[in-house]
């Protein structure tokens, strides 16, 4: 069976169709596959580079918790803005108990310095040194957090009672969560 002219034309047509399929579909798909594989390799490297990051997050979260608690404990010593009057009443009662007379008590407007606000309170006291000492000791060691900003104790010769000018800063709880 000798190939005829029609066979030759048919063969050429088939080769043409196969070439068309190869370049139009298979070659393109091959290129797509190579590109996707390159992307996969790149992404795999990125994933491997960041593999420990979830452990780091767990670690960081575990570290953050005690720091948050520390801050919460510390700000727990601050006075509520609405309870400044209670603090002043308590201070007056303590002063009375120690035999100290509070002749002036002037709360100032809240001052915001860095992260927290504090209310300055200016006072004038009069009393014997032991009473004043006990009052100031109580102020510095008990809650809420009050810092003596200025303290002047004057004791005139011949007088038993001391005159005290005192400015304290009363730390205020943040209005919306520390």
């Amino acid at each position: 069976m000798k190939p005829s002219k029609i066979d030759a034309i048919g063969f050429l047509a088939l080769v043409g169709i196969l070439a068309g399929i190869y370049f139009g579909f298979i070659h393109t798909r091959g290129n797509d596959l190579r590109a996707v594989k390159r992307d996969v390799a790149k992404l795999t490297r990125v994933v491997l580079d960041n593999e420990g990051i979830e452990n780091a997050l767990k670690h960081d979260l575990a570290d953050l918790q005690p720091v948050r608690e520390k801050l919460s404990r510390s700000t727990g010593r601050f006075v509520d803005r609405k309870k400044i009057d209670d603090f002043l009443r308590r201070f007056m009662a303590n002063a009375d108990e120690m035999g100290v007379i509070v002749s002036l008590m002037k709360p100032g407007d809240a001052v915001t310095q860095s992260a927290f606000s504090h209310a300055p309170i200016t006072m004038q006291l009069e009393g014997a040194f032991p009473g004043i000492y006990a009052l100031l000791h109580g102020l510095e060691t008990c809650d809420p957090l009050a810092v003596i900003e200025r303290l002047q104790i004057r004791n005139e010769p011949g007088k038993e009672k001391c005159q005290v000018d005192l400015t304290i800063n009363l730390y205020l709880k943040p209005e919306s969560g520390a």
Binding site: L14, R29, L33, L57, V67, K70, A115, H137, I153, Y171
Partner: protein, 207 residues
């Protein structure tokens, strides 16, 4: 013996045509199968690779979120460290009662204090925090407000004044005790030694 082909030519042509058709059909089927399997194989590989790529992209998105969360934690830690530094700075200013106690301990009935002034100045500007992790620890250490204690009074004798000054110098709550002056003055018809002492609260020693 001579063979004679008795088949009619139409029949011979038909047989020849069927054979060629079968050959062509086999050839086309083989080529089709080859191209089809190649295409199918490529498609399935591409599909798998794309699925893997999608999975990895999802994973990277998760890792990005984790990274953002870590950044957020670092920022929160730094903010907390700054707040704690403020609180510790405030707490370390609470030294007045201890200083008054030490003043009382150093003095005796031969020394008479007329003016004790303690003023805490503005704290030093906070340094930029190097890293959130170290900042919390640094916050506890780097908080030294400026404060000066000035004491004015009278002593009966120079010896009493010296004893008072040395008592203050020994106090753990005070440092750099400096006698600014000590001179004789007449107070209520008594010859006394008037003095002024300046010193700094030893804030590092405070609890």
């Amino acid at each position: 013996m001579k063979q004679v082909n008795l088949l009619p030519p139409e029949y011979a042509y038909a047989r020849y045509f069927r054979k060629r058709l079968a050959t062509w059909a086999a050839f086309i089927l083989a080529a089709g199968a080859m191209v089809g399997s190649l295409g199918f194989n490529l498609s399935s590989q591409l599909h798998k690779a794309q699925a893997e790529k999608q999975r990895l992209q999802g994973r990277i998105e998760t890792l990005k979120n984790v990274n953002d969360e870590i950044q957020g934690i670092a920022v929160e830690k730094a903010a907390i460290a700054a707040k704690l530094a403020d609180i510790y700075r405030a707490q370390r200013k609470q030294v007045d009662a201890t200083i008054l106690y030490d003043l009382a301990a150093a003095s005796n009935d031969r020394v008479f204090l007329v003016d004790v002034l303690m003023s805490i100045g503005a704290p030093p500007a906070p340094k930029p925090t190097p890293a959130p992790a170290a900042a919390v620890a640094a916050a506890e250490a780097d908080v030294k407000p400026l404060a000066v204690l000035t004491v004015r009074g009278y002593a009966l004798t120079n010896l009493d004044l010296t004893q008072f000054v040395s008592g203050l110098a020994k106090s753990s709550s005070l440092k750099q005790v400096n006698l600014k002056y000590g001179r004789q003055e007449v107070v209520m018809k008594l010859k006394l030694i008037a003095f002024e002492i300046e010193c700094l609260p030893n804030i590092e020693q405070q609890p």
